[in-house]
Amino acid sequence: MSFLARHRIVLPVVSLAVLLALTFWMQPRAMSYFGLNLLFNLAVPIALATIAQMMIIMVNDIDLSVGAFVSLVACVTATFLNDAPLLGLLILAALILSYAAMGAVIHALALPAIVVTLGMSFVWGGLALFILPTPGGAAPGWLRTLMTVKPPVMPMAVVAAILIAAVTHLLVIRSGIGTVLRGVGGNSRSVARAGWNVTALKALAYGLAGLFGVLAGMALVGLTTSADANIALRYTLLSIAGVILGGGEFTGGKVSPTGAVIGALTLTLAASFLSFMRLSPDWQIGAQGAILILVLTARLVFARRGGAA
């Protein structure tokens, strides 16, 4: 088996490195503590949302409600968590639990996850509109401080990305329960036959997704200082793209948390890279599509080499 096929993480790392090198070349100012933070700080909530999506893809489902959910969390964070922290925490915990319940129901009733999450995206969106019919709210001070902290050596964004990747790698790849969860994606019948309660496992995976979704919403509010009901809708597609860019696959429980984080960084960087290119406004949108295709085309090389094995 080829080196690339064994280490699916190589490709995302190389794409990110190439893009980063090009960005530095075009915009040397970015090559600084300050520059890196500006380039990547908005990637932190995206990375967390991507991890949330990955938890669902890990068990062979797909979540079309991540964006709406993160928006709802952002609204809760900017209102309840700020005004009445205890109530806010309770609501966030309830949201995580409802995510877990959603996973359990999807499995117990053998429902297609894509439809249930599509329906839930309306529900989350509606709840967010209840809480914030018009943009507003304010980030809790501690959250704002946390997201704008200036650690020594490396900017917050980089530290956060490394931390997220490390924690989720331990959780999903190294730990025993993470292995079982990936097993659910690989062959849930075999996991069930080994005596596991697959409904509970799915609830756990969805609950973890909910947890990371909550973290994503909180991180986002920490950066933007306020929220609105539509604030993170595009995270749904971004998170799916991030998981795939990071070497994950839609089926079979093949996911890489490190790759997912790198995928999220790459997507964020790609957008910046384009704005440094100063394209005509007509083509700015299309160029984002083109660069997505380019980055993913590198997978082709990877697939060809790997396919030979």
């Binding site: 967010a128 509109l129 019919p133 200082t225 595009r234 406004p281």
Partner: protein, 319 residues
């Protein structure tokens, strides 16, 4: 004024969150015109326009951060959210960048705001209806995109107006997402359950779709307040010629982008500019209809372009 500094080495960027309708396209066109001329005249060194692919505050925040990195001296901003960009705007101000927001303004105190009083616009619609329909009647409200600041403001103004003129009652309210086809669909869906409608209050751009929906349902065309789109104006002119239809059309002019450009230039030049400026909205009445229709390109939006003098006037008025 001679107290002003030279801005010929300054670079200005336009951060735009959405390009998906004719209003925004007209806005981008006006910006381009103004910018090209200003660069050619040596007023500024560059004035580049950037649009995000998705209408999302997060993406626009990233865009603003990139502009900081690129070393622009000023950022002219049509914001996706009045508050969610505050983090990025603050970062820009801290980096010494002048931020001027218009149309979609931001609440961050360090930025300048060129605001349209959207609530007043909503109220004016009802005030107008009150003059035309003194005995009142049922109103249908077509709103924009839920959860967006402008939608909420205009709607607030409309409701304020209805409270004031209690001969009116809003019997139905739908979200048309500022898209013709969505508005048409929403109106068609709610019409069967509504009593007779005397007037339709809109947020701009939905009038033609509403007229189509009334037509398809075989209902008499009510008094629809329009939003300056050329197709609306043309429909209005046709109706006027056919049966003397009379109404009012109002909206913010896309050319406000050029006003924002000049305000930013003035700030860079060292002019004392108050943080809050207002521009009037562009109103088209029965009398100015033909004139407006003649000057609006087919399929576009009625527009005015602002020059440096207009900006100076607005600034002086606010002082």
């Amino acid at each position: 004024g001679s107290h002003l500094q030279d801005t010929s080495d300054k670079r200005i960027a336009l951060s735009n969150n959405y390009a998906g309708n004719s209003w925004r396209q007209a806005m981008l066109a006006t910006w381009e015109e103004t910018a090209e001329q200003a660069v050619a005249d040596g007023v500024v060194a560059a004035a580049d326009a950037y649009t995000t692919s998705e209408n999302q505050a997060t993406e626009q925040a990233a865009q603003i951060q990139n502009m900081i990195l690129q070393g622009y001296d000023a950022i002219v901003l049509n914001a996706a959210s009045p508050t969610a960009l505050n983090g990025a705007v603050k970062e820009a101000c801290d980096a010494g960048v002048t931020v001027v927001s218009f149309d979609g303004i931001v609440t961050e105190p360090c930025a300048w705001r060129i605001a349209v009083d959207f609530a007043a616009m909503g109220k004016e619609e009802v005030d107008y209806l009150a003059t035309r329909l003194p005995e009142g009647g049922n109103l249908l409200e077509i709103r924009g995109l839920a959860g967006v600041f402008v939608d909420d403001e205009i709607s607030k103004g409309i409701h304020e107006g209805v409270a004031e003129h209690d001969q009116f009652e809003i019997v139905g309210s739908v979200h048309g997402d500022w898209a013709q086809d969505v508005a048409q669909k929403a109106v068609a869906g709610i019409l069967p359950s509504l009593p007779e409608i005397a007037g339709v209050v809109t947020q701009g751009g939905d009038g033609y779709g509403a007229a189509q929906a009334f037509d398809a349902a075989g209902r008499p065309t009510p008094l629809i307040v329009l939003g300056n789109r050329q197709d609306e104006l043309q429909w209005w002119a046709e109706q006027r010629d056919a049966n003397g239809y009379e109404t009012l059309s109002l909206s913010i002019a896309p050319g406000v982008a050029s006003l924002a450009f000049w305000v930013a230039q003035q700030v860079l030049a060292g002019e004392e500019v108050p943080k809050d400026l207002t521009v009037p909205f562009l109103k088209i009445t029965q009398d100015t209809l033909d004139e407006a229709l003649a000057s609006t390109p087919e399929g576009s939006v009625a527009n005015v372009s602002y020059a440096l003098e207009d900006a100076q006037e607005v600034i002086a008025a606010a002082k």
